[in-house]
Symmetry: C2
Subunit: 257 residues, 2 copies
């Protein structure tokens, strides 16, 4: 009996009609049977949110011509739960999330719906990677990002990943020939210096837009994703969902007293 083709779940946080999702489907469809379960509208910045106070809807789609394709009214994490528990014929061999329109390096992983879908897959025991291009434009050129998506998805399908680990992949906004290759690195320590852009609505009431700029606290650290990206490399950070600060644990034991 011929070995069955790998089953690949594709999701994202920019929604079913984002061009980054289309690019990712094209990048992985040569590797197996593709099922798409993506949010029915943009869900950027949703982090690891799940929908528990309202209902979820699912619609079957016929847009990409793959093995199965659905929109879900929930968050990216809901999409993974819906895919694994309801929509797919079996547990997928791989989950790819993206390609996100915009960066998800450093602390941004924690706010990112793209990466949360990958992390949720890891929690479910599915090898997974989240992919992000450092270009927020709706018309971004995904050519180089798609090339690395195929390469890394094939690598993970063939060799797997350590238990409980997924990959956070970011691709600089550069033409393919300018990219220097892949760096496996750690999450840089940085944060958003926030501004709350204060405005007045037509009724005279105040409202705010969350905005700001990312500040890297480790500018020179060559083992970080932020450094790799600034220097023309595709960054790959292995990510875990165990958030225990193991190094701090012993030193805090006196809290028990």
């Amino acid at each position: 009996m011929a070995k069955s083709k790998p089953l690949i779940l594709v999701t994202n946080d920019d929604g079913f009609y984002a061009s980054g999702l289309h690019a990712l489907i094209d990048a992985v469809k040569e590797l197996g049977d593709v099922f798409v379960v993506a949010p029915d509208r943009p869900q950027s910045g949703m982090g690891h949110a799940i929908t528990i106070n309202s209902t979820l809807r699912v619609s079957r789609m016929h847009h990409f011509g793959v093995a199965g394709e659905y929109t879900c009214s929930g968050t990216p994490v809901d999409c993974v739960k819906m895919a694994v528990n309801k929509l797919l014929p079996r547990k997928p061999d791989l989950c790819v999330s993206g390609i996100n329109h915009g960066a998800n390096h450093s602390i941004n992983i924690i706010y990112s719906g793209t990466m949360s879908a990958a992390v949720e897959s890891a929690i479910e025991g599915i090898p997974s990677l989240g992919l992000s291009l450092l270009d927020y434009s709706l018309e971004a050129d995904f050519t180089a990002a798609a090339h690395y998506s195929t390469k890394l998805a094939r690598r993970v399908l063939e060799s797997g990943l350590p238990a409980g680990v997924c990959l956070n992949v970011n691709i600089p906004k550069l033409p393919a020939e300018k990219l220097k290759g892949i760096k496996v690195c750690r999450q840089a320590y940085g944060t958003w210096v926030e501004e709350l852009d204060e405005r007045t609505d037509p009724a005279g009431r105040t409202y705010f837009w969350l905005t700001g700029a990312f500040k890297n606290f480790e500018e020179g650290a060559e083992d970080t994703d932020a450094w790799a990206l600034s220097n023309g490399y595709v960054s790959v950070v292995p990510v875990q969902f165990d958030m225990t600060a193991h190094k701090a644990l012993a030193g805090l034991k006196d809290i028990e007293n």
Copy 2:
């Protein structure tokens, strides 16, 4: 000059009118000047979501009689960003989030708005703790939980926490005299065995409720939060926002080739 009183930010994910928030304010108000910035409605399961595609509103409240109190239309993480960047007179000395109506041990930290507010505070360099009572009832008895909230908040104000670390505190649903004390421990490895409860709306269309049961994969592991809670202890897990799987990093270097 007399030393000024500590500034304490109180937030939660169950919303401004949840009784767990009230209990937490009462538990920490003896320790400093309290500012409350809480969601204007329940935000459970919001994980580390932030509001970037819509606007934020803030309302000044006069409910608890503390130094400052506000509702915010956003997520728990938005509340922290709004507090730190807009509403508080200076960076707080402590952030406490909760007391959550329901458990946030093991993997639940990643879905929890309560813990995400604490993690966001840690990212901002503010010592912080998230507190959760293992009782989902709106009429839960917060007496014992409040006692431990005061004790741990005082400990963190006095001794601080390692950089980049906050505390995930869970309290069993037990009367104070039955609690055996505090265990400093690690996040148990477990996951939700999901069900998607499928129903039909009055128009004949399908919808789903996300539901399920938590499955602990490490039942016997005495160094985990799940074990501590099952055995009558208050669990305290030090939590970090660096999600790099440092142990897996070297073994994945060949991805660069």
